[in-house]
């Protein structure tokens, strides 16, 4: 009893420490602080809290779109509505329609920071705790605590959510909750959570191919009768969830055309293939190949869609093949955990990374989506293993890839401090001398030296006027290859995990399935 009490204490302390650090990051600057007339993402979120509480739902997606029109799905809007209502009950001047634009009083800033922190506490942190308990349930308590700390203190998410100001943790939290449900075999509930994730930010579409094929595969592996029933149940719950999320824009509450307002706002294909410098395939290769000169906008859209589909196809294929073979060799009813579950994080990584690398209109912040499955995988790996080393490298590179953005926000100090802190907590020293034959270590060391050099150069030299974007472009050139290799690596690993579950050939395998919880 006493020991248990201590372990609970460790979890509580980790969470408190993480919340404290998040709050301290929030003491600093945010996106667009003090830059009229448009400000930045902070003002966008505040503006949505303002318009949702003063306007009927029909106007949410149409009101004065030039000034931060709402461009996330309705769940974000409902969340803003709730936050706005609470805020207005404390001080109505924070959210008066139109006149409160660009308000930056001390107390309103504190309130806004609280909204992020409390959303975190309600969705993301419980999801992480539950994830560690359910996915690493058979590991030692020490490993679980470290895994939790590693996930809680992940620098990229804290810098974007609590520094830059966004609510990505809500979307990611819903996805983790979905994964937790899948691990317990509650597919329908998981589907509801994933619909919520999609309903919060459309970016979680990056996960949709993996999750969709996992659920489809689950139906296949259950056999014809049970599988069909599951399929129908999943279909109905998913559709129902989306209906509930979008119901103010659908009959009988509104005419059918009104659904177009949010949809047009959510999927902006009219914008360019990339806006800022993003470490994806298009932007990196743009140094040599001027894509926008060769192709029209419409063909670029199609091209990127094709590339993306090709990019996540291996993940879908692995999940399908894995579940099909599992249906032959494993009696699914005997196992509480679904046999294809270990493939899922890898498939999520493949799918989200392929979207990041190849899809249309990617922001540098979107790297948070591939980072989530990567960190979930990392949290279960042992220090020194390839997964651990590579994930640590990708995390550090990901933070670096957001450096131009963070620099604009004036978040240089939290950027350094949090990256250092996270590496310290997980016991990873980027500049440690590599052991013999540790190929990944040599690559990592090379990348870290590059990053250090770039930072030093940026401090010392102002870029020539011919190339004002010199440093962001160099940044992209450092980061994009790492992300590309991560994508390839995830394909390799998901294929291996599939083989481990069901054997290589098509013939019936005699061996028992490997430990299905082994995620390494």
């Amino acid at each position: 009893m006493h020991r248990n009490h201590m372990k609970e204490g460790v979890t509580v302390c980790s969470v408190l420490a993480a919340l404290w650090i998040k709050w301290c990051v929030g003491l600093g600057s945010y996106s667009g602080a003090g830059i009229p007339p448009m400000y930045g993402d902070y003002e966008a979120q505040r503006h949505w809290m303002e318009i949702t509480q003063h306007l009927p739902t029909s106007k949410w997606y149409t009101y004065k779109l030039q000034y931060w029109g709402l461009d996330y799905p309705p769940l974000t809007a409902y969340h803003s509505y709730l936050c706005g209502l609470i805020g207005s009950s404390i001080n109505p001047t924070w959210f008066t329609l139109d006149t409160s634009r660009g308000i930056e009083t001390e107390d309103s800033k504190v309130f806004m920071r609280y909204t992020v922190l409390i959303t975190d506490m309600v969705i993301y942190i419980p999801a992480l705790i539950y994830f560690v308990r359910s996915w690493h349930g058979n590991r030692s308590k020490r490993t679980q605590s470290l895994a939790l700390l590693c996930l809680l203190l992940q620098p990229s998410l804290i810098l974007i959510d609590n520094g830059h100001f966004q609510f990505n943790s809500a979307m990611l939290g819903f996805t983790i909750l979905a994964l937790n449900c899948f691990s317990r075999g509650y597919e329908s509930l998981g589907a509801v959570f994933f619909a919520a994730s999609l309903g919060f930010k459309q970016m979680s579409l990056y996960y949709a191919p993996a999750i969709g094929s996992y659920l489809l595969g689950r139906c296949i592996s259950l056999g014809r009768r049970a599988g069909t029933a599951t399929f129908i149940r999943l279909g109905v719950t998913t559709l129902l969830s989306f209906y509930v999320i979008f119901c103010p824009f659908l009959p009988p509450f509104a005419p059918l055309e009104s659904i177009l307002d949010p949809l047009i706002r959510i999927f902006p294909f009219s914008r360019g293939i990339f806006e800022d410098k993003v470490a994806n395939m298009w932007c990196a290769s743009n140094v040599v190949l001027k894509w926008r000169a060769y192709f029209t906008q419409a063909s670029l859209v199609r091209l990127s869609a094709a590339f993306t589909a090709l990019g996540f196809a291996p993940a879908v294929l692995n999940l399908m093949v894995g579940s099909w073979k599992a249906s032959i060799i494993v009696d699914s009813t005997k196992y509480s955990t679904p046999p294809t579950l270990p493939i899922l994080p890898w498939a999520l990584l493949t799918s989200s990374m392929s979207f990041f690398l190849f899809s249309f209109q990617v922001h540098e912040k979107t790297i948070l989506l591939p980072l989530l499955p990567l960190n979930l995988l990392m949290s279960g790996s042992s220090p020194g293993s390839f997964t651990f080393e590579w994930s640590a490298l990708v995390n550090n590179v990901a933070v670096f890839s957001m450096w131009p953005l963070l620099r604009r926000d004036g978040a240089a100090i939290p950027y350094v401090a949090l990256t250092f802190l996270w590496n310290r907590v997980i016991g990873y020293n980027p500049f440690r001398k590599p052991a013999r034959r540790s190929f990944v270590r040599y690559i990592a060391l090379f990348v870290y030296v590059e990053i250090t050099l770039l930072h030093a150069l940026e401090l010392l030299i102002t870029p020539p006027s011919r190339y004002p974007d010199l440093f962001p472009v160099l940044n992209v050139l450092v980061c994009a290859p790492i992300f590309g290799v991560t994508w390839l690596w995830s394909i390799k690993r998901s294929t291996e995990v599939t083989w481990a579950i069901s054997g290589i050939g098509l013939r019936r395998s005699r061996g028992q399935p490997q430990d299905v919880k082994d995620l390494k």
Binding site: L27, T93, T105, D107, K109, I413, A417, R424
Partner: protein
Amino acid sequence: MTNNSNPRVAFPSSPAQSTVPRTSSKSQLRPTGAADVKKIATEEAGNRRGLLSTLFSGVTPSEWALLGVSTSIKVLLFPAYRSTDFEVHRNWLAITHSLPISRWYYDTTSEWTLDYPPFFAYFEWLLSIPASIVDKRIVDLQNLNYDAWSVVVFQRTTVIVTELVLATALFRFVRGSVDQPMQRIISASLFLHPGFLIVDHIHFQYNGFLFGILLWSLLMARNGNLLGCGFFFAVLLNFKHIYMYQAPAYFVYLLRAFCMSPQGGLNVSNLLSLANIVIAVFVVSFGPFILMGQIPQIITRLFPFKRGLNHAYWAPNGWALVTAADRVILQVIKRTGADFALNAEGIASTSRGLVGDTVFAVLPNVKPIHTFAITIALQSIFMIKLWRNPTYKSFLCALTLCGYVSYMFGWHVHEKAVLLVLVPLSLLAAENHALFRTFVIASVAGIYSLFPLLFTPAETPVKVVYSILWMYLTFQPLVRRLYEFPRSLPMVVVDYLEKLYLAGFCALHLFVTVFPLIAAVPSAQQDTSSASNATIACTPREGFICPETEPLLSSTSSSGRALEFLPLMVTSVYCAIGLTWAFLRLSFIYLKSSSKS
């Protein structure tokens, strides 16, 4: 945070360390003989060869981890609220950099004149050299209230860097400690003390650095090098004169344990060497000013006796309880209409929310001489005990009590002075359960009493969450080692009441948080017309008067001010109860302790 460092890492004995006598832990328990001192002194001289390498050699991986983690969290606090002390120190940088030394203690360009002893002025002068390289505007004397990012980063960085003095002292405390695991917890908890976080890294001061010097002095005392102990304390006194609170304990201890033999004979050579060292330190510090004949001017700067009994926010000491009692009795008299001689000035003082001088309405007024008499009388009791039992542990206890008495009954005590109690008391926490419980009560009450220093809503989660974490991570491992069941019925009752008192802080915090919201509801309707009110950095709505800028606040209606002051008063009184109880506990433990140990 303290537990994150790998507990399995053993402390390797480094070459530098091996020169420190291993027997020191034993010799600390008895007055050190002259032969010991000479031996240690020569060894220390050997130690001094490479000061830097000595300081940082053998810093274990877990200590590097502690330094790394703590630095990264302190760096995150750069943009946090800073009090006027920040501008005070910036102004001192400017004074020492742009004026000749003869003008330092005369300059009145800013209202924040130099009022620390000369070593601190030299320290500021040293800091002003890099400051002028970082940004010329920092050291511009006319550039008042300069708060560009460059000066914030520079000054905050100097706090973190100079705090390494504290870190090195604490790390050395672990080496050669009798109980290394416990000392490691104590050292880590002191380095990460919420008091330092609140007062230094947010509010802005250099206490970590100054207490680092104090701990170096105590370290010397523990290792039996009493000459070094006296030297460091003399240096400390010349940095900040508030440490005079502790001077009696030092005086008695050094005189008895160093300048006299255990039998009572005077050891003239020791006395002379100590006197020489102390005088040399003071000459280095005050020498230039003695030559320029500025001593009277410095004295008036260092000891401004025009202040009141209590600080703006009552420091939770004995006088806070007396003042509160006065207010309560006044209300009782007013309600019942009892015939009693009231002091008209005192009645006015109650409605002024305690700005400036405190005048009692019912109780007899307190003059500075009274506070001195009480302080010295109480201190002398402990000094007699120390004289009879001049060991290191006894000295530590007497030192704590000496600071404690000054804090409890001093004139115009500032709430930050509670660190003078908490820091030496921490070193005693691992002794036994009675001292540990005293430490817990004093720490909780003392740390909570620092909360009103940070009255801005953004810093509230910072101080509260950090303090909770610190308390859990410090108390939990200690209580597992030290816990004892209360053995008699009165002890059971006391134990229960103490736990109840500690639990009461949750209720207190709830009250302090909720009360201004309730009190603000009626006044908010009046406030909506004057919207400018809401944008002042120190919002009256928060219910906390600003401790530093208070005289600038316009006086609003007396009832409104009383409502604003109530949470502060309740905080002060509640903390004062705990601190007084901890004081009584500690006095009792010390006076009852047998003379041998």
